[in-house]
Structure formats: C-alpha cells, structure tokens
Symmetry: C2
Amino acid sequence: MTAQAPISGEIERSGGTWRFAANQPLRLDSGATLAPLEVAYETYGKLNAGKTNAVLVCHALTLDQHVASTHPTTGKPGWWNRAVGPGLPLDPERYFIVCANVVGGCMGTTGPASTDPATGAPYGLGFPVITIGDMVRAQAMLVEALGIETLFAVVGGSMGGMQVLQWAADYPEKLFSAVCIAAAPRHSAQNIAFHEVGRQAIMADPNWCGGAYLAAGLRPDKGLAVARMAAHITYLSESALQRKFGRELQRDGLSWGFDADFQVESYLRHQGASFVDRFDANSYLYITRAMDYFDLAANHGGILTEAFLKARTVRFCILSFSSDWLYPTSESRDVVRALNAAGCRASFAEIVTDKGHDAFLLDEPQLDQTLRGFMNAQAQARGLG
Amino acid sequence: MTAQAPISGEIERSGGTWRFAANQPLRLDSGATLAPLEVAYETYGKLNAGKTNAVLVCHALTLDQHVASTHPTTGKPGWWNRAVGPGLPLDPERYFIVCANVVGGCMGTTGPASTDPATGAPYGLGFPVITIGDMVRAQAMLVEALGIETLFAVVGGSMGGMQVLQWAADYPEKLFSAVCIAAAPRHSAQNIAFHEVGRQAIMADPNWCGGAYLAAGLRPDKGLAVARMAAHITYLSESALQRKFGRELQRDGLSWGFDADFQVESYLRHQGASFVDRFDANSYLYITRAMDYFDLAANHGGILTEAFLKARTVRFCILSFSSDWLYPTSESRDVVRALNAAGCRASFAEIVTDKGHDAFLLDEPQLDQTLRGFMNAQAQARGLG
C-alpha cells in the first residue's frame, strides 16, 4: 500500500481517549516506516457541515492529547484549560478542536513502549528515531481520516509550535491559519546540550537496561527525574525562580545536610518525582531527539524562507515571551523575517512577562487576549459564527 | 586548644604539593569543628622581607591549588596560567602567590574523602557541611601559619570571588586589596536549582552508596558526569555555544540513533567523562552546598553594606562578564553598590565578551589588561617594586 492511497482507519473510543488505527504505515524521515500506527487523540466541539471549523492543537514535549480534559493518570485538569473551553479563545462551541498524542509519545500513540510486531515485546530502542516532520505526517493522516480537508487553524506552543511551522512547510494547502507560540525554527546548541544532559541522566540509570526496562519489569525513574529537573529549570526564567522561591527555606534554619533546605530544591524534586508517574523514559529520549533534529531550513537548502514559499495563503500568528531563554524572541523574529520574505501574512507579538518559557501554560492575560483577537479575526475571515 | 591560640602547624612538601597540618581544629559555621585540618597549597615566588607581597588566589568549585603548575592527575597546565606567571598580572617575580585547595576539596585539603579519625574510614557523608566562611577561615589559618599578617591581595573568580568577598567581610584588617571576578554576594534560586540537579544526579547513581562509595570500592562516575554536564552548560553563554558548535555534526549526516550526532553532545560527554578522573563526587556535593548556603548579607542583618563596613581601607576591584548568566553583572553591581554605601574604594568593570561565565579562565585580553592595571596600581600604592 502506498502513501498515495486514501488514508483511513479504525476509529474508536477506547481507554478514555479516541484511537485512530491507520490503514497504512507511517513513512518516516529516516527512511523507515512505522506500522501499525495508532494515534490517540481527544476532540472538543463538533465538526460543522462545511468541515471548516477544525482546529488542531499540537502539544509540547511532555504533554499529551488531554488539552482540556482530565489526565487519566494524574487526575489533573487539561494542560490548556486556560485556552480551550467555553468562552475561551479556542471555544468548542465554535470550533472542532483536535489534539493528538505525538508519534513517539506514551499516551496511546505508537511509541517506544508500544509492542513491536516483529518481536511481540515493547520496541524500546528498536523504535525508529522520529522527527517533528514524522509527528506532523501522522497528524495529517488522522486529519485526512477524519474527513477534514483544511484545518481552520493549527496551534501549538514550544514543540507544538515547531509542529505548527512544520505543518506550514509540509501541508500549507491544508491550513487556513497557524499559531506558533514560544518556539524556534531550529534547536540551538544550548537546546541540544540541555536535552543531551537529560538523555545521559536516563541512560546512566542502571534500571534503563539499554532501553529494555519494560521487559525487565524495571523503570529508570531516578534518571528520568533528574532529566526532568534539569529541563524544568529551562522552562522558567531566572527572575520567576527568584520571585517564586528566592532563597526561601523549607524549614526554620538550614539542615546542614543534603535534605531539601531551599524551597526551590523541594519544588524541583517534586517536579522530578511526579513526572516519572506520567511519562515514559524512552519516549523522553525519542521526543527530545526529534526536537534536536528539528531544523526547518535544513530541508530547504538552508534557507528558512524557502520553507514558507507555498504558505502565502496561510495567516500566521507568531508569539514569543520576553523572558523565554529556551526559545528566545530572537528565534521567533527569525521565523517572522522568513515569513515576511516569503510573502506570507504574519502577525507577531512579543509578550512581556517574567514567567519564562512556560508562560504559554500559565496565567498570562496578554497571551489569552492576543490569541483570542487573532482567532476571532480569522473566524470572521473564514465565516465562522 | 582555643581558636585564640597562635595558629601554626607542620608544613612540608609532600606528594607534589605543600601541606599545612594545623595545630588546632577548624571551627565551622555549623557549630561543629574539623580536626585534624590539613590544607594543601601551592606557592609561586618569594615572600619579601616585609611580608607585604603575598597574594592569595582563591579557586572555583572544581579547581584546585594548581593555579600555575601542572595538575598531578591530568598533566594539564595550571588553570590560571594566563594570569599567574612571569610578565603576567600576578607575577611571581614581584608577588608571593599562594593558592590553597578549599576545605571539602579533594586535592589534599581535608574533605569528605579524607580519613575520619573517629572511624578510620573515609568521612563520606560523615563529613560536616561546610561554608564559604569555613573555607576562608581555613585559608586564614594557613596565612597566619605562614607568618603573613596582611595579604597584599586576595583574588578569585566564581566561587573564588565569593571567598574574596567573605575575606573582606571577615578579615578586612588582613587585606590590602581584593579582586572579585564573576561572582555574586549570594546564590540565586536558579544557581541553587542547577546545583541541586547535579547533586540529585550523583545521589541517583547506585554506585554512590549513600556516600560510602570509597569504602565499597566503587565510584559514582555516571552520576558525577551528568552533574558536570549540566553545570558546564551554565559556564558558557548561549552565543558561545552557538558560535563554537552551532548544529555542527560529528560525522556526515545524522545517526538516526542516540550516539553523539552533534558536536555539542560529544563535547559535553567529554567534559563529563574527563571530570570524573580528577574530582570526587562527595566533594562536589559539599562544595556546591557551601555555594548554595552563601549569602553574605544574611549574616549581617540582611544588609550587604553591613558586611563591608570594616573594609574601608581595602581597595576592591569587582569584575563581571556581559554574557555571564550564572553570575550576571547585576550581581556584581549589587556588590559595588554595597561597597559604595559602606564607603569602600571600589573599581568596577563589566567586560564585554560572549564567552559567558568561564571567560575568567579563557583568552580574554580585556580581563588580563584590567587585572594588570589594578594590580600594578595597588603594587605602587603598597610600595612593591
């Protein structure tokens, strides 16, 4: 079966989430194929008769399809309850909102913890290395299977924003608008360095077992927790950490030992400990690798503008946060410059905040307002009520 | 024996370095005492007849007394060969230069790998938690034992700079001048957070054995390497990493696996792997803890100015680097403001460079020039030839 064949597949509600089992393999940028391909996703609202109101939300590294619904493991509310919901910028009364777990993930979409049909055991390191392009190709298969020809919008922050840019490069004809928040067109040396620390922390854990920990009944929780702690620092600005924690102590006085004396230590340890309950260590390896490999210009002769030449009809909104040092505003400006040079329509705003990269998930009224304004204007242009 | 008794001790050349065995215990800020206390140090040049030309160089977290002499383990040249040597700003022809391994270190000064006299085994976690103040108190004992009443200068970068500030607060009457490079008067929440990641990486390594790895004949090398990798990123600026490595690959093309594809990954892995050959994991825990506990104002009613009120005769030089995000210029400015408010003489320069925190160890001509200018002016004021 070739990729040209119409994409369809079994769609069912299972295990608290929607599952799409594709009728064909996923072609990967590495040259390999992945089969079977299952994509776990959530939807909110209804697809209208003209199928013009579909919004695809792309999630970040450690998030999932539960954008506005309770997480089945943690019981926590959806990760973007601030943006997706009645009366919010992405309103299910108006839009049919889809969010799919990425390929390589661990919340139902095929990933390294899935069963390798060749062995009957979990893939582990037998899972093929994937890219942001592969994630988007799987989403495009789901979108086609859902009968959606054009997405009203594709929206995402951080790695979600990278997927948005990839959508614009690979499927511009399927997009009406695109919102890229706190992302970058390539992973910088510092970005790669932080990810490599996390991967080394996981692989240093003897319970990782060369990636075969599931078969061994073990979990590299300590390594994964250290990886999360290191990454988490990069999600916050120095000033946010200082404001939130400063040098505040957990108890009266110092412990004169290696307990968590400072609140920031206790906070980080908690971030690490709670992360391992909801995430798979190998998924962390594969998804960080996909982000490191991301370099949108590289596949277009090294010229970012070339990636967007076919996206002139797409209405772009590029947003950055002033205190984001992981994907600083300069990276978003590079995207905007390339969009402008390609003749695309691009709105750009740098939102002034001290909350750092994670601002896209936090109480940031200026983000809500900007997102709402852009979505409403596009809805009007698209004739959505 | 009380601390008021004259400090002396056995001084001998042993194992390629000088050793001072104190005749009394080291009183610690925790309330504990450390005995016996040995301090390993190096000297360059000769103490003049008036004993007015002694310069104490204070080292950073993972450095040691081999400021301008070959490291006995790695065979590498001294870590500050750029600044200490004939014709250089700290010239042994003019000055008697002393550099001592800090308490808690692993290059000969008493630390967690030393033998605990109570057990006959290495201290491990039985070693008392130490502070920057304790490091300085041990140095002051050595300086007294060497018969030096007043140091012509105390000089240091990073944690060495913290020791310089502590010297000015605790022993202002023993200082003629003080040079503090790329440091801060307190550890910020982000500084603590990065250190905590490193500590957790070490303690997550099963070979750490609750700190008793030496007795078990093991080494938590993997954890220590991860700690070093995470820390190393903070020593370089984002732009230095980008300039040095960008997205350059190790080989032609991607590996589509988890080998070090990018040069920055390979570089970081090398930093981790070579570090474990020369450093002790428990020393890393204790010294990072000392840095996290550092808050010079806290012991002076929360007012940094109070720390310097007795240092009005000391001539200060405070230097920062524009791209240092670990101890940014704003921290040095806080020191300068406090010095000014205390009525101290303070020169300040922010050196514009993209090399980040590690600039104090690198080819940075403006640093050499500034240091030389300050040292020469002080030498003239002190009547040194």
